[in-house]
Symmetry: C2
Subunit: 106 residues, 2 copies
């Protein structure tokens, strides 16, 4: 890691996944390996530049791995590392809470 980790674990988690698209990337990759184009399409409104930037940071933080296939046209796949996948409880909790909130706020 480049930056110092905060003492508070919540802040640590926050600093690693609080960028605009990271949680949605995690949501998608929890399902399994995805190609760049798949992620871009699934996330919706993100630009290529920013999606790439977020992915690179997550790779640097050890949350996912990037695999380039030497083909033409190129194929790049992203897969969660164990560390990344271990965020599943966080995502699950968000899913459950979000579902409940939706049901109360038609």
């Amino acid at each position: 890691m480049a930056k110092e980790l905060p003492a508070c674990p919540v802040e640590t988690t926050l600093m690693l996944i609080s960028d605009r698209w990271k949680v949605l990337i995690l949501r998608d990759l929890m399902e399994g390996t995805r190609r760049f184009g798949q992620l871009k399409k699934s996330i919706g409104t993100v630009s290529q530049k920013v999606l790439t930037a977020n992915l690179r940071e997550m790779e640097a933080d050890g949350l996912l791995s990037r695999r380039v296939y030497p083909e033409v046209p190129p194929r790049v796949e992203y897969t969660l590392t164990e560390t990344g996948y271990s965020l599943k409880p966080v995502l699950d909790a968000m899913t459950e809470w979000g579902t409940g909130y939706q049901s109360k706020h038609v």
Copy 2:
């Protein structure tokens, strides 16, 4: 709610707690009622304006309640609603994951 909720529950949760300081506000209020000044001090670097803005949004979203005591000097206390407190599993998951990540990244 003013805005439309996204179909994806994760996005719903995200849109409600992804502002810069909201998760830290939740972290503090999980411990119990807090005064404005206590929150400001505990969170650290946030400015008054932004802290107020975040708190007002969370109030509008039904995550916390604001109680003003008609005293001089004024006292304002913030308390989680049931809905807000029901985010505890999310915070707990973040705490646990952050702790683990810290231990691996000295």
